[in-house]
Amino acid sequence: MDERSLILESQKGDIDSFNRLVLAYQNIVYSQAYRVMGEPNAADDATQETFISAFNKISTYRGGSFKAWLLRIVTNACYDELRRRKRRPTVSLTPQDSQGEPIESPNWLIDTNETPEETAERSEIREAIEYCLRNLPEEFREIILLVDLQGLDYRETSNVTGKPLGTVKSRLARARERMRECLFQFGELLTSTYRFVHESK
């Protein structure tokens, strides 16, 4: 059964058909959730919530890219959760020691004492990318994830995010620029990766 038939059956309330769509898209949805949320437990919750929400709202699906439709749901779910956490933080974002006192440097995520060489030694390119993605502002991360990692075109991305095409275009350019700058922290790793990418092309 093709995707369209599965969607039609799902719209009639057939959970089995919807589960076949779940199996086809769960890695994509989880990847998006993980990259937006930055932690596996939150990504797991967001993915589950996404598929429940998608099943409940599938009657509102009116064609187009089903993948984009799912990505819109998961992205919204993730940002809703992030906003909720900002409003009601349950865990202090400031790292604390065993006595509950805040650790001096709040920028513990970015170890400024670490040289690019040490970073390159410690990290693989994938971790570097994930790291840079996590450090992008939300509005840029959202766009670059959809375009460069999920492979949506500008129009689909515009539909998913609800932003105009021009905004998508400019935010993508700035996101790429920032990613490029970020990856320079990884020095030789980046250089070798660039070489690898060029050679593999």
């Binding site: 890695n27 994509i28 350019a173 620029e177 990613m179 990766t193």
Partner: protein, 244 residues
């Protein structure tokens, strides 16, 4: 690899060029600038590499399956198409059938009583007609009886014919006299008496019309109920099959 002197607009153009989102005019303009600026070419190359790098990143594998069941919390299980129609139609069919049986049985009883009533009416009518026929004859017989009385009261005087008859013989004369004058034996007539049946007879056409119209209504109701029961039953069966 630093491209600090590239403006945000140029970054945007380079990014759009990679995604083939520039118009031909914009593309021509950028191509000419790329030929003139090594920094711009370097930036384009870096962006191209970054884009390729991001696009070859494998997706993150989901740690588990996210399959849903009807018991999954938050699931709003929708009724499948037709599942609502099935109970409604089957209920309608059952009610219509029961009503049909009730009306049919009532019709049978009413029909029986109507036949009895109509028979009674017919009998009364026949009796009434007989009476109507009998009344003028009775009046005539009364007159005859009166004449006979007068004839008996006045002494008989022989007429010419009588004399001839008398000559022929007394017996024949007597018989002829009796045949001619004596009143014929009449059936016993009873004077009609006003009874309850009379009222029924008077209203008989209306009563029959009323009963017939009642029966017509019942028949129509029966046909309607059979139709509803049958069509609802067929509909219910269809949706039952569709529901699987």
């Amino acid at each position: 690899m630093m491209n600090g002197d590239i403006s945000p607009e140029e970054w945007e153009e380079l990014s759009a060029l990679l995604d083939d989102q520039l118009s031909s005019k914009e593309k021509k303009g950028l191509d000419s600038r790329l030929q003139q600026s090594p920094q711009l070419r370097s930036a384009l190359s870096e962006l191209q590499t970054l884009r390729s790098l991001l696009r070859i990143q494998p997706g993150i594998r989901a740690p588990r399956n996210y399959l849903l069941t009807a018991d999954t919390e938050g699931i709003r299980t929708r009724r499948r198409q037709g599942s609502l129609f099935f109970p409604v139609l089957s209920f309608t069919a059952a009610v219509a059938f029961l009503m049909f049986v009730f009306v049919f049985v009532s019709d049978l009883f009413l029909g029986g009583s109507q036949v009895i009533q109509r028979n009674e009416v017919m009998e009364e009518q026949a009796e009434f007609q007989l009476m109507e026929k009998a009344l003028p004859e009775s009046a005539a017989s009364d007159e005859a009886v009166g004449e006979i009385g007068e004839a008996q009261a006045v002494p008989l005087e022989p007429v010419e014919g009588d004399l001839e008859m008398m000559e022929k013989g007394t017996e024949e004369f007597d018989r002829a006299q009796l045949d001619a004058r004596a009143p014929e034996p009449q059936p016993k007539v009873e004077t009609p008496v006003s009874e309850p049946g009379e009222e029924l007879l008077k209203n008989e056409p209306y009563l029959i019309g009323y009963l017939i119209s009642n029966r017509m209504v019942l028949r129509l109701l029966e046909i309607f109920l059979v139709f509803v029961a049958f069509s609802s039953g067929v509909g219910a069966f269809y949706f039952y099959q569709k529901r699987g």
